[in-house]
């Protein structure tokens, strides 16, 4: 499975729209695109996960390093429209307490 990454970067907000699976194979591409965005001070990086139907712990690692980078660079990370299976991963790992996650859960398998 692949991961499509679409970045629309306008002024102070970057919207990253993902579709596919985030796993050990696709996580490096995501990291490569996501991390530079978080390095800009004041930037709000919004990641739309509506069409991500699978994510493993490697994917979580990418969001954890993005979160750390926003803390260092004074930017902001926001995850929106997670499918329930993906949401569960963030809940189990307690990351829902420290990452700004829009709790409106989309359907999903």
């Amino acid at each position: 499975m692949n991961l499509d990454i679409n970045v629309s970067d306008k002024d102070s907000t970057a919207v990253v729209t993902l579709a596919g699976e985030i796993d050990a194979y696709t996580a490096p591409q995501l990291k490569e695109q996501l991390l530079p965005l978080t390095k800009e001070s004041g930037k709000v990086v919004e990641v739309n996960l509506e069409n991500v139907n699978y994510m493993d712990s490697t994917g979580l690692g990418v969001f954890v390093s993005a979160l750390k980078s926003t803390k260092e660079n004074n930017s902001e990370l926001k995850l929106v429209q997670l499918q329930s299976r993906v949401m569960r991963l963030f809940e189990i790992t307690g990351l829902t307490d420290i990452i700004n996650i829009d709790s409106t859960v989309r359907g999903g398998s």
């Binding site: 712990s57 490697t58 690692g61 990418v62 954890v64 790992t93 307690g94």
Partner: protein, 336 residues
């Protein structure tokens, strides 16, 4: 059969024999010749060179065009020769790496080996199977002087060798925590500080730490973002998820971990696992946690160690013997 010599006269004789007789044995010997050449690191362009010289010996009146064309071919083969040499040296390097990794893996095995302790009135089953050569799961038993049993089960996110190294770090930090500070929340808080300072930003660790006290027959536990385990209540014959909230190790510096406790009654079971167990996939289908419980339930009559082995065998079969993630399952059962 004549012994093959990698020399010009031998090649010339073979070639001559073949041109005259179109004999298959000469062709076979040509094949042997090329195999022997590979063993001796003789490059393809050298063989062509031998061919050119043999042709010149056999046909002194060789048309000039043919001779030039052979030189042309020789030039064209040089890159192949270089690529082949590179391939050879890569193959040697790969062998060396492989043996180094297996040394590292067996070292890890030795370092992280944990002995399943004997605790009176408690039955313990534990299984941990790595998906790759190095295990990213970690579990450890500690038995204190006052007979309390500590159990750590962890999953290092980030795979392969860096993950394995992080695990050794965790083990040494845990060994250095003084015995009077072995409360689950305490342990997770200290480990969190260690991991937060030391680990690459995309790596983190989930851990569940439990402490069984035979004195008050209670189980104390805290979780750092670890896959929830299950509690089997024997009196009601029911499984429930062990709820314990807490963020994974290594993300924020001063995380506090809540500690929970519950009384363990005879026949009750505490089931701890890593997501290799619940993230099993059969083709495109995920194995739901309920299925794990079904398998445990069906095999509950077995001794704890046999039980965990049976669960592993069940999922191993489902996954066509291919494990996507490390698999660790620990079951404690209070004897009746």
């Amino acid at each position: 059969m004549n012994t093959l010599n990698l020399d010009l006269s031998n090649y010339r004789d073979l070639l001559k024999q073949y041109i005259r007789t179109q004999d298959e044995t000469a062709l076979y010997q040509a094949e042997q010749f090329s195999k022997l050449s590979m063993q001796q690191n003789i490059s393809p362009e050298e063989i062509i060179n031998v061919h050119i010289q043999a042709l010149q010996d056999l046909y002194p009146e060789l048309p000039e065009g043919i001779e030039s064309s052979m030189n042309f071919l020789l030039e064209a083969m040089i890159s192949y020769g270089l690529a082949y040499q590179e391939f050879q040296s890569l193959r040697e390097q790969q062998l060396a790496l492989k043996s180094e990794i297996s040394v590292a893996a067996s070292m890890q095995q030795t370092l992280l080996t944990t002995v399943k302790p004997e605790v009176e009135g408690l039955e313990i089953g534990a299984i941990s199977i790595p998906a790759n050569q190095m295990n990213g799961d970690y579990h450890h038993f500690v038995q204190n002087d006052d007979n309390k049993l500590g159990i750590a089960i962890a999953d290092v996110i980030g795979k392969g060798i860096p993950a394995a190294l992080a695990m050794s770090m965790i083990k040494y930090s845990m060994d250095s925590i003084p015995e009077n500070r072995m409360d689950p929340s305490n342990i997770l808080e200290s480990l969190n500080r260690v991991v937060e300072r030391n680990v690459d930003p995309s790596m983190f660790i989930t851990m569940f730490y439990g402490l069984y006290d035979p004195g008050d027959e209670k189980f104390y536990y805290s979780s750092a973002g670890h896959e929830p385990g299950f509690y089997y209540n024997a009196a009601e014959d029911k499984f429930e998820e062990i709820e314990a909230r807490g963020v994974v190790l290594g993300v924020t510096r001063d995380t506090k971990y809540r500690q929970y406790e519950r009384k363990v009654n005879p026949g009750d079971m505490i089931i701890m696992l890593t997501d290799g167990v619940t993230e099993c996939r059969q083709g495109d289908r995920f194995i739901e946690p309920e299925e794990v419980l079904d398998v445990i339930k069906a095999n509950m009559h077995l001794p704890a160690q046999k039980l965990v082995e049976q669960v592993y065998k069940h999922f191993e079969r489902l996954q066509d013997f291919h494990l996507r993630d490390d698999f660790t399952l620990i079951i404690l059962r209070k004897e009746v």
